[in-house]
């Protein structure tokens, strides 16, 4: 049975996207919406996506800041390494030692980074008209939304594919269980990556998605089947 139209994630997204677009104040966020919404009624093998990984100062969007965003486009089933981009955000407060240990972004490195509004202005065009792919995408969605509201006064609306959720939906597992990217990649025999920066993790996440799609039984999936519910 076909899903009810209001249960289709695409419909929900389109409504939210149109609403946000109509309310966005002029500036980079309005430009992001003006570029148009991504094509969702297509096969995965034809789709244009972008893998995103945010390095943040903590896990609480209300309190913590984005330090770095890594993006790698995924077009027609191919990850474009040459189009990988890194956007560094200048931290609002001094970095916590714990987060420095995780992503290796020191105060010095962060000092070369862009102010939050400039960083978002650089990042948003990379995401425009694309479906976003992330592992545990909730984090990326909430941090980007929080940052856009703070800087531009409007929400960030984008269709997401979450590789962690996809794993549980397609291949089983406890709902809500958090499985780290590296652990999941190992299950697919994907190589171990040493670096933990935004770009490296975005690529790692994209490769995981390719593996998941290749291992899904049945006919090649449509993009809609991948979207985060």
């Amino acid at each position: 049975m076909a899903p009810l139209w209001f249960a289709d994630p695409r419909r929900r997204f389109e409504r939210a996207f149109a609403r946000a677009a109509s309310q966005a104040p002029a500036g980079p966020l309005a430009d992001y919406y003006a570029a148009g919404s991504p094509r969702l009624y297509t096969a995965f093998s034809d789709a244009e996506l972008v893998c995103v990984d945010l390095e943040t100062d903590g896990l609480t969007p209300q309190r913590d800041a984005i330090l770095e965003a890594g993006t790698v486009p995924l077009v027609q089933g191919r990850l474009q390494v040459g189009e990988a981009k890194r956007t560094r955000f200048r931290p609002i407060q001094a970095l916590s030692p714990a987060s420095v240990a995780i992503h290796g972004i020191t105060d010095d490195a962060a000092a070369e980074a862009l102010r939050e509004d400039d960083a978002l202005a650089q990042l948003l065009p990379l995401l425009a008209r694309r479906v976003l792919v992330a592992h545990f995408a909730q984090i990326e969605a909430e941090f980007l939304d929080r940052a856009c509201r703070r800087v531009f006064g409007g929400p960030f609306v984008a269709p997401f594919v979450c590789t962690m959720q996809l794993q549980q939906r397609w291949f089983g597992g406890k709902p809500g269980e958090i499985v780290r990217l590296g652990a999941l990649r190992a299950r697919y025999g994907l190589p171990h990556y040493a670096a933990h920066d935004g770009v490296g993790d975005a690529l790692a996440c994209g490769e995981l998605l390719l593996a998941q799609v290749a291992h899904k039984s049945g006919s090649p999936p449509s993009l809609a089947e991948l979207l985060r519910r």
């Binding site: 990850l79 390494v81 990988a84 025999g189 593996a211 290749a214």
Partner: protein, 630 residues
């Protein structure tokens, strides 16, 4: 930042540790990284079909890929860090292989345009992706021989040490050319030198050696008051302080001399070095072994001398001496051991009642002996041999020879090809009829078993007997196409592997073996090819390289094929020696069995090239001699 893409550290790190990308400079490696697209293929998926257009170079990041020529014939299995797709890019034609993921694969794929740019700009990159495997193989051999082993620090090898670095520091003994012959001889005796450089105002004018005194003075009863200048060799070959030990060794070998005056940059005499100085520098003391064999008064003494052969060979190998020189050296030792043991036995048993020759077969006859060779020999008994009267003498002689050889490290022949076997003690007619039988009524097994008999040379005694035997046999073989077709077919039946897949050896039938038998699966087929051509043209040479050369000169073998096979042969022999040197260093018994995991990437790739070349030449041999019948 801005429009510049971000480095992906893990991708770069992988490229930095994977040839040929590792050897690119940073800028070009970045060009590769920026061109990469990552794709994933599940096990069982066809990546490219034979006949399809291909516009990418694929580098396996993880997983494995099988290539089937035309979609049907297995041609290779590739694993992590291997590349495929480049032959079609280079030819700018469709893919010839079907590439299928045989494990889940993550591929880094590079656009053809980027591949071509890199090939244009980077010579090493272009060489790496050469689709002409024989050119690659020849280059590998040239690198090993010309510049020393590839995989190591050449500067650390003794063979590349400069002459200056190992001179004793003792001032050179030299004389004035105005000295009389008698005075010069007295000076040489006093200083205990066999070579006397003669200098005027510090400039080297000539040299006089012991041999000159013998030949130009004593033998002709020259007046000892004659100025030594009259008998010196003027303008002798010299060597510079900055030349290498290898250069000195080659110079001495080429010119059959044992001493070289060393001069500095200004041309002034510094020292005289001897062959043993050079070889001593190689740590081998390799020249001592033949002398000790000559001097040994018993089989036990001889065994003590030959016991050092493995060390001498290892030292030569690790010094970077190429394999064909090492096999010649080892074969010379083997030959001397046979001769000396025979002399010792004759001292004990008395002189032979009739003339005879000691003949050797197989690798010793080909001058291709390595370490751990068996003995393969026989007697050709001459005029007047009478079985009833003389058999016991030759049986006893053979027994002593064979036991002595066994004690000296040459194992008894498992196939009983030894003079101790009455079947291997025959008069000329007896040998001729034995060979005649093999040639006239060949059967596959007999052809296999008899092959090594066709590599023969005399070691001692009446060499003419062996020469006559060989000439007769080769003339008979040359004229018998059926026999030649059996030889060719036997050779072509060897299962030469396809290559390697991870730590396995890959065969045509997709079987994966654990070890490579370097001798049986790679070296022997080349020896067989050379032998077939030698028989077909009655070529007298016994050495494989000489046979290939002669076959090419006689028009039996395409010169390029001869050159390729020679390069393959030298490469394989070199791999064998390096492998055996490793076995010795680890205290393992010597063998020709090579687990693929012990091979370097360089060796694997060039072995694969050698295999391919050998398979092609075996096919050619079969079609040339056996009408393509199998």
């Amino acid at each position: 930042m801005g429009d510049e893409s971000a480095e992906v550290r893990d991708v770069l790190a992988f490229l930095q540790s994977t040839e040929p990308f590792a050897s690119l400079d940073d800028d070009h490696r970045r060009v590769v990284e920026k061109g990469i697209e990552v794709a994933y293929f599940r096990r069982g998926t066809v990546i490219t079909d034979a006949g399809d257009a291909n516009d990418r170079l694929s580098l396996i990041r993880s997983g494995a890929v099988e290539l089937m020529l035309g979609g049907t014939q297995l041609s290779a299995r590739l694993g992590e860090r291997d590349c495929f797709g480049y032959p079609s890019l280079i030819r700018r034609g469709p893919a010839q292989n079907t590439a299928t993921a045989i494990e889940d694969c993550l591929l880094y794929r590079l656009p053809g345009a980027t591949f071509h740019v890199l090939r244009e700009r980077c010579a090493d990159f272009r060489k790496f992706f050469d689709i002409d495997e024989s050119a690659r193989l020849r280059r590998a051999v040239a690198r090993m021989e010309g510049d020393g082993p590839v995989a190591g620090d050449e500067s650390g090898l003794a063979i590349y040490a400069t002459i200056g670095s190992f001179l004793s520091g003792r001032p050179a003994v030299s004389g004035d050319p105005a000295l009389s012959v008698g005075e010069a001889a007295a000076l040489m005796a006093r200083e205990d030198v066999s070579t006397l450089p003669l200098c005027e105002d510090g400039r080297l004018l000539g040299i006089v050696t012991d041999k000159d005194l013998r030949r130009r003075v004593l033998a002709v009863q020259l007046d000892l008051a004659t100025p030594v200048r009259a008998i010196m060799t003027p303008d002798p070959i010299t060597i510079g302080l900055n030349d290498t030990a290898m250069t000195a060794l080659l110079e001495m070998t080429r010119r059959h001399i044992h001493h070289l005056p060393v001069i500095d940059a200004s041309g002034a005499l510094v020292a005289v070095i001897s062959a043993s100085d050079v070889l001593g520098q190689l740590g081998a003391h390799s020249l001592r072994i033949p002398a000790e064999i000559e001097r040994s008064a018993s089989a036990q003494e001889l065994a003590t001398a030959t016991a050092r052969l493995p060390d001498a060979v290892s030292a030569l190998v690790s010094a970077g001496v190429d394999a064909s020189h090492v096999t010649h050296y080892a074969s010379a030792i083997g030959g001397s051991a046979h001769c000396r043991l025979l002399e010792l036995a004759q001292t004990e048993l008395g002189p032979p009642p009739v003339p005879f020759a000691l003949v050797c077969f197989g690798s010793l006859a080909r001058y291709e002996q390595g370490l751990g060779s068996d003995q393969d020999n026989g007697f050709v008994l001459g005029e007047g041999y009478d079985e009833a009267r003389h058999n016991s003498y030759f049986a006893a002689l053979a027994k002593r020879l064979s036991d002595g050889l066994a004690a000296a490290g040459y194992a008894y022949c498992k196939g009983d090809i030894m003079a101790t076997n009455p079947d291997c003690r025959r008069d000329l007619a007896g040998w001729q009829s034995r060979f005649g039988h093999w040639i006239a009524t060949p059967d596959p097994q007999a052809v296999l078993d008899s092959a090594i008999f066709f590599d023969m040379r005399p070691l001692a005694g009446e060499e003419e007997l062996v020469k006559q035997l060989r000439e007769g046999v080769f003339a008979q073989a040359r004229d018998n196409r059926i026999f030649l077709s059996f030889m060719a077919r036997a050779a072509a039946s060897t299962a030469v592997p396809l290559g390697f897949f991870r730590n396995f050896l890959l065969h045509h039938d997709a079987d994966e073996g654990d070890v490579l038998d370097l001798k049986r699966q790679a070296i022997a087929p080349i020896v067989d090819i050379a032998r077939c051509h030698a028989l077909a043209r009655a070529i007298p040479a016994t050495g494989t390289l000489e046979r290939l050369d002669a076959a090419a000169a006689a028009g039996g073998l395409h010169p390029e094929a001869a050159r390729d096979l020679a390069a393959g042969f030298e490469f394989l022999c070199d791999v064998r020696f390096r492998h055996q040197a490793g076995q010795r260093a680890r205290g393992e018994p010597l063998s020709n069995l090579l687990p693929p995991r012990e091979l370097s990437r360089f060796d694997r790739e060039h072995l694969r090239d050698a295999f391919r070349l050998i398979r092609a030449q075996l096919d050619k041999l079969r079609s040339d001699f056996a009408g393509g019948l199998t």
